[in-house]
Symmetry: C2
Subunit: 483 residues, 2 copies
């Protein structure tokens, strides 16, 4: 931070010709997307959109900022990370911190009790950025939620099916989906002797188990959260458990845990969930895991998180924050997460009417990072345009003929480019095709114009063939049908 400030100062002093006296950069924790990154982003989005549409979801959009009071009291300790707008007169505003709270506000405001919607948009957190690992201050969230009063666990199972479909289609490597229930955690805390008022804070400590070893987590429970050591040890016994339907059955018989009606309700729901996951044929990737806690306050029932189990993400160093231990272990980690939040909409309703909701958020920035790194190492070049043909000429004074033909192609729906030069060299026109992956060149010359033909060149094979002008459009479409 200090170094950045000094560099900034230096740059200001360097701007001695008066042309530029400021640093040319994007704000901390943000980035531009260049055309190649956009091409990858579009591909990922399309896979995800198609999945959401396959499941019959609608989409909505909300403003990038909300009234400050809409966000107040929804994020617990993380509220300090919210970006506020300057008070310039009028309403006090904040940038959205996630898409879930605006969704709940939208439902309450429009009195909607049933909807299956997705929303892909940027959210804002004044967090410590770790950009090489896809952690930014401005980042995309990609949410799918089902709101409505339904029979238990059916929409919840669909959310997991969606995670399974998306992660499979994107071919990010092997993954696992951990499942738990807030009521099981609460019941477990109760029977282990954690006082009620410490449930949430102990829960955030448990949430660190995916990054820290048990010993450190226990240490935090005892030293920072003030739990007696034997209480911590009992919790330790439970949170080490993971399994499938068998574990659910076993815990339903657990003499201690079965005394908590919260825990029993949670376990019964997990059991029902597994029945549906079996019908969806995805249980091979799903594990019931008592260490899963999830950070956010608003979850009320089932929670889940998908992790990549292969070290698919290279451990590149982050120039801003260095390779901290925590950072490094995060980098093979959570790629999607969500759960049930039955109380959030009620917080916005004047009468407190509840709309049960369950949803999932896909960690799309992480996915972008992985896909970008894959593209770097892949032999296949990422195209940033879809141009099918370049209208070129080898001779001088044919600009007008080139423009005329290009317009004809555009009007016929062919994706075409032409150089903005009166007399470009043929070589530079061909080079542009090589560089950007344009497969065809339509070459005009005096002779071709006389003969009423166009020379169509395949950029890869270098084959050239005279095509009658009348059938040029058809020929181009035929040859690029698979592009």
């Amino acid at each position: 931070e200090e170094v950045a400030r000094l560099l900034q100062l230096k740059a200001q002093l360097d701007g001695d010709d008066g042309k530029q006296t400021f640093v040319l950069k994007t704000p901390k924790g943000t980035r531009d997307y260049n055309p190649k990154q956009m091409a990858i982003r579009e591909k990922v989005f399309n896979t995800i959109f198609n999945c959401f549409k396959r499941h019959g979801a609608e989409t909505i959009d909300t403003p990038v900022f909300e009234l400050k009071e809409t966000l107040t009291g929804k994020y617990g300790e993380d509220s300090k990370l919210i970006y506020d707008l300057k008070d310039q007169g009028g309403e006090l505003l904040s940038l959205r911190y996630d898409l879930t709270v605006p969704f709940a506000r939208y439902l309450a405001m429009n009195k909607i009790t049933n909807i299956k919607r997705y929303h892909i948009a940027k959210v804002y957190r004044r967090d410590n950025p770790a950009m090489t690992r896809g952690r930014y201050r401005e980042f995309y969230q990609c949410d799918f939620d089902i709101a409505g009063q339904y029979d238990p666990m059916i929409p919840d199972a669909e959310c997991l099916k969606i995670v399974h479909e998306i992660l499979s289609e994107l071919e990010l490597g092997d993954f696992r989906i951990k499942v738990n229930d807030r009521r099981i955690l609460d019941g477990m805390f109760a029977v282990c002797g954690v006082p009620d008022e410490k449930f949430r804070t102990v829960c955030s400590t448990v949430d660190k188990l995916d990054k820290l070893p048990w010993e450190e987590v226990k240490n935090e429970m005892v030293k920072e959260k003030g739990l007696p050591e034997e209480v911590a040890d009992q919790i330790g016994g439970y949170v080490s458990l993971q399994g499938g339907m068998d574990l659910v059955e076993r815990l339903l018989e657990d003499p201690k845990l079965s005394k908590s009606s919260d825990a029993v309700a949670g376990l019964k729901d997990i059991k029902q969930l597994f029945v549906y996951l079996q019908l969806f044929r995805i249980t091979d990737k799903v594990a019931f895991d008592l260490s899963l806690a999830r950070g956010l306050d608003y979850y009320t029932g089932v929670i889940y998180e998908a992790i990549l189990t292969q070290a698919g993400v290279p451990q590149t160093q982050d120039p801003q924050n260095g390779p901290g231990v925590e950072e490094a272990s995060v980098s093979v980690g959570s790629i999607a997460g969500g759960g049930r939040y039955d109380g959030l909409v009620g917080m916005f309703d004047p009468k407190g009417r509840k709309v049960p909701c369950v949803g999932v958020s896909i960690g799309i920035e992480r996915i972008f990072s992985i896909m970008e790194q894959k593209a770097e190492t892949s032999a296949e070049k990422v195209r940033t345009t879809e141009t099918q043909v370049m209208v070129a000429s080898a001779q001088k004074n044919l600009l007008e003929e080139r423009l005329k033909l290009t317009a004809e192609l555009w009007d016929a729906g062919v994706k075409a480019e032409v150089m903005y030069k009166k007399n470009p060299k043929l070589l530079s026109q061909l080079q542009h095709c090589e560089d950007t992956g344009i497969p065809l060149v339509a070459i005009l010359g005096e002779q071709e114009l006389k003969d009423g033909v166009v020379k169509l060149r395949n950029v890869t094979t270098r084959e050239e063939l005279n095509i009658p002008r009348d059938s040029l459009i058809e020929e181009i479409k035929k040859r690029t049908a698979d592009c």
Copy 2:
């Protein structure tokens, strides 16, 4: 404003059960997009994306906020409309006001000298909103720009071709594209006797000619801007002129105007532009119009603006601002605009290196408004999902069979929905199809399960046919191929 404050206070007092003590709304000048609006938005975007891609453009994205200093000094008087973020420690930030300045910053920062790019994203202006007319504080801009040193007027002509293609394809009604050149305006001011330092301010007065009659504009020039009446009258003589190539020729011979080298350079470029527009076969919609001035400071050459010439936009009243005279006449108006800005990138370059640019911005919020109103009056229903088939049953206890079949369909790429109820009524399942436009229902019953078939029902015709389970996917795909 005062009334809004009182209503807000009242609403707070009404929240007497303590559940909600704040107003449930989006910030002033912003709106949510509901699923129907999103469906229309997607359709408009696709038309525009396709056009940009047809012309070989790449796309980029930039952060929603920039360093405050990046925006400083780019917007003249309008700078007061910029949203600033609160100083929470660290950099001072502002929300982007348009996409052009971030584009110029991107080019300078990455030392890019050639690019053809489009960018569709939201921008922010603390302006007086007129929401029913598509004027918001948060709104989309949709920009296409060509940066690079090329032979004159070729990229400029392509920008106009793009406007022509997009407005034609969207079928918004008849339109006209006005063209002028900043150098012609400057030359005209000079030969009419306007002092140099008043060029920009007189230019903004001329810009009002599309909303105000000449008498009022003249009044402003004389009374507010302090021009002698005879100077204003001379300007009035020029700005009433419009035409095509013929007018260009005439003005090149104009004894007064031809004395200005600026004006002559502008006129020669307009002449060359018309040659290219003829090759693109779009001159029927284009008029050279000396009254066109455009608001923004940074234009340096050709400028243009497209207007709808039919009263396609109903004159609905704006609840917030009332039907002011200015408002009403704006509502049939500018739908796209742009021009050449050869100096902007240089403002960001440490050495002041220039990158010539020309671009166009499509007034997409306006287009949304028109399309939404069209959809309201149209008999055709806007679908908000793409679901092909609903998996249903008439009998009880078939939830698991429904889920199993639905998962099979999803895995085969079929867009399918299922009700999240154990035993939904057949009627409510069919009603959902009618409501949302799902064309097919796959009905499961005990008998069908025994026979290894599924009853496929056409929702519109009510025809039902038993299909062997093996060929169900193929049959659904065949029947919905044109959806």
